[in-house]
């Protein structure tokens, strides 16, 4: 799973090399968006719920240190060991050392986007530890040696026929058989063996309740529960922003999460983990990894409200047609594009530009993050930090000068049609990317201002 240095536009172009596949990807995700629409319309107070969730998260972000300490105290009282990790490297070291303490070199892991963000699997592999992802979609991309392309549906870019081939190769299913039921059954047997034999299980955390010290893990497959209940050691990794003050707030978030994510009323399993069972160890690794920096950036702070439902990806017309891998970061799509530049502004300078700013993401977001405004703001910050191409800066300066000098503009505009020569999308030559698949608009004999000067009195 090497890190790609390619820009979103290049990767998206590659993805678009196969148009029927793009159509399939787009339609699959649009279908999920429609399922989401259908179910949220059954909740008349939907918009009020979103507002409540947004406010709760707003309050948490304003009092994060207090809630984290309250959560830590209560978790410790419950018998959970709490670890703090400043960054990805520290998180990975902590997990590795817990494995070493157990003397094991194998671990089972359920869905955790944080561990993707930290590249935990790669780190552990380098240290001789084998990790098996127990979420079906994650297991599929793991066997394919690819990162997930979507935070809720990790293998949404893979067709079932391809999964059939993959399982034939690795799990011995009959060749040419892509029956979902058969494939799921094979995966179930495979992962069951893993559950039974691993002493350490790692899970993610969806919500951490400050008042009780418990944490909630949501899955549809029950794989987090299977792993955690059968292991001697349960490690749960969470970002600092997963806190909610009270258990009753789950009544807001659990109603929003899966309706937004997949159009289901609630996740099949919403499991509360409070204390280790007798003889078991339970560890929580609470990770910062840039979150406090983002918390300090006022215009981007709200991005930490995210509950990772992926509704913004499913609705994003660009994501649907460029694929998750085109974002070359663990969390793709609109939310990824406002989180990633915080981690590395230079490497992810392209992502806030991979959007038309249509605003659909902000409208579906269950915690009302103003995603498209933040994309716009990141563009400004990235440019001002010098991460945009020199030629673009030069062109923009010419544009700025001309547009404030009407004489220059209108002179150029007459026969020369300044707009035609300078608007990036209208530059009239055949090298212009506009022209590759689109005709140029035809220039009329008269511009409006010429018509006006001729037909109307002076303005």
């Amino acid at each position: 799973m090497e890190q790609s240095n390619q820009q979103h536009a290049d990767l998206a172009r590659k993805f678009n090399g196969n148009e029927s596949r793009v159509n399939w990807h787009d339609e699959t995700l649009w279908w999920i968006r429609q399922k989401r629409d259908k179910i949220v319309w059954q909740v008349p107070e939907w918009e009020a719920l979103r507002e409540a969730a947004s406010q709760i998260k707003h309050h948490v972000l304003g009092n994060l240190a207090d809630y984290l300490e309250e959560f830590e105290r209560n978790a410790q009282q419950n018998g959970v060991t709490v670890h703090w990790a400043a960054d990805a490297a520290e998180h990975n070291r902590i997990v590795h050392s817990l494995l070493q303490q157990q003397g094991v070199t194998r671990m089972v892991k359920s869905k955790s986007m944080l561990t993707e963000e930290c590249h935990l699997n790669e780190y552990l592999a380098e240290h001789g530890v084998e990790v098996i992802d127990s979420d079906l979609g994650e297991r599929i991309v793991q066997l394919l040696k690819e990162p997930p392309s979507h935070i809720v549906l990790p293998c949404i870019h893979i067709k079932k026929e391809e999964i059939g081939e993959l399982f034939h190769k690795y799990l011995g299913t009959p060749e040419g058989n892509a029956d979902p039921q058969l494939l799921t059954h094979a995966a179930r047997l495979h992962v069951r063996e893993v559950f039974m034999s691993r002493k350490v299980a790692l899970t993610g955390v969806n919500f951490a309740v400050a008042e009780t010290g418990e944490f909630v893990v949501c899955t549809n497959e029950g794989n987090a529960d299977m792993g955690a209940h059968l292991a001697d050691v349960h490690i749960a990794s969470m970002g600092i922003e997963k806190i909610i003050p009270r258990r009753e707030h789950l009544g807001v978030f659990l109603r929003l999460l899966t309706r937004s994510a997949t159009g289901q009323p609630v996740t099949t399993y919403s499991s509360h983990f409070a204390k280790p069972r007798p003889g078991q160890q339970m560890h929580l690794v609470i990770v910062d990894n840039g979150r406090t920096v983002q918390l300090g950036r006022e215009q981007f702070r709200n991005s930490l409200k995210c509950i990772r439902c992926a509704a913004c990806m499913n609705t994003c017309p660009v994501y649907r047609r460029s694929g998750g891998h085109s974002y070359h970061t663990a969390i793709a799509g609109p939310i990824g594009s406002i989180l990633a530049p915080n981690l590395d502004m230079k490497q992810y300078a392209d992502l806030p530009f991979a959007s038309t700013l249509c605003g659909s993401c902000s409208n579906v977001c269950p915690v009302k993050i103003d995603i498209h405004n933040q994309l716009y703001q990141w563009r400004q910050v990235i440019t001002q930090n010098g991460h945009s191409p020199a030629a673009k800066t030069a062109a923009m300066k010419v544009m700025a000068t001309t547009l404030s000098q009407p004489k220059v503009y209108t002179l150029a505009g007459k026969a020369g049609r300044w707009v035609l020569r300078n608007m990036p999308w209208l530059v009239n030559n055949r090298l212009n990317p506009w022209y590759k698949q689109r005709n140029m608009p035809e220039a009329p004999k008269q511009s409006f201002r010429e018509w006006y000067a001729q037909n109307k009195k002076q303005g």
Binding site: A9, A12, R13, F15, V22, D37, W41, V43, W46, E47, T315, P317, V318, R321, F353, A354, T356, L357, C358, G359, S360, S362, N363, V364, Y376, R379, I382, T383, K392, M396, M399, A400, T401, T402, L403, S404, Q405, P406, Y409, T410, G413, R417, W418, V419, L420, M423, P424, W425, W434, Q437, R438, N439, P441, A443, P444, S447, F448, R449, W451, G459
Partner: protein, 250 residues
């Protein structure tokens, strides 16, 4: 009531018909309209590319030109939104005034002039493209993502046009993929989005695609023409003004 007409730069140069229709339409409803000839562009191409910091002088110029009108009206949701969100000037009072009195054409007709009858005739099958900035930014129409009662200012006007046959699309407010510089920097995705949007209209046998933003329409027009389609794009002002340009035969 004096109205300053703000015509986006590419409309001025490429789609004068849309601007003429806007002007005539406003005059039909009794407005006294002027076009300040020194206007250039609202600066959105720079700002959306990450160069908002270069738009100061452009903003100053814009503010000076439009400060004294009762209203400023623009036949583009996108340019209107940009100015409403980002116009600042040394005379901040004037800039604020413009941000408040600037309207996109259709919302000006429905909300300020409170137009209830449109005297126009347009006997064609028409698909309406909901441009995102007008819809989601200016709330010209309800957004499909929200659990909220539907409305649409542009449709409310179009529905009164005689002879028009409005189709309803499979995806009623999906983005067309224009996106300003996005249309060239992300050419592959932009074109794919445009093709898909156009396909939805074609599937419903439209003769015209209309909307409140010529930029989206220009993008779709480019795709339509490349595939040799006879379907045309037309700014909503031209339809609402169709009786003048194309007198109805009774």
């Amino acid at each position: 009531m004096t109205i300053g007409l703000f015509i986006p730069c590419y409309v001025d140069q490429f789609y004068p018909r849309a601007a003429i229709a806007t002007l005539e339409l406003l005059e039909k409803y009794g407005c006294s309209v002027s076009f300040p000839a020194a206007q250039t562009c609202c600066g959105q191409p720079m700002a959306n590319s990450g160069y908002e910091h270069l738009t100061h002088s452009c903003n100053e110029h814009f503010t000076t030109l439009f400060a004294d009108y009762d209203y400023v009206v623009c036949p583009s949701g996108s340019c209107t939104l940009h100015v409403k969100d980002h116009l600042h000037a040394s005379n901040e009072q004037a800039a604020l005034g413009i941000r408040r009195k600037l309207y996109e054409l259709t919302e000006f007709l429905t909300d300020v002039l409170q137009v209830t009858t449109i005297d126009a005739y347009f006997p064609y099958r028409v698909g309406m493209h909901q441009s995102c900035h007008g819809q989601r930014g200016l709330h010209l129409a309800q957004m499909s993502e929200l659990v909220a009662p539907p409305f649409s200012k542009p449709l409310q006007l179009l529905q009164q046009v005689k002879g028009i046959e409005l189709v309803s699309l499979n995806r009623k407010d999906e983005c067309c993929g224009f996106g300003g510089t996005f249309c060239v920097t992300e050419e592959a995705v932009s074109v794919k989005m445009g093709k898909d949007r156009v396909a939805d209209h074609l599937q419903h046998d439209v003769q015209y695609i209309t909307g409140v933003d010529m930029s989206c329409l220009m993008h779709m027009e480019g795709i339509l023409k490349r595939r040799g389609s006879k379907v045309q794009v037309i700014h909503i002002a031209e339809i609402l003004n169709a009786a003048v340009l194309q007198p109805a035969t009774v």
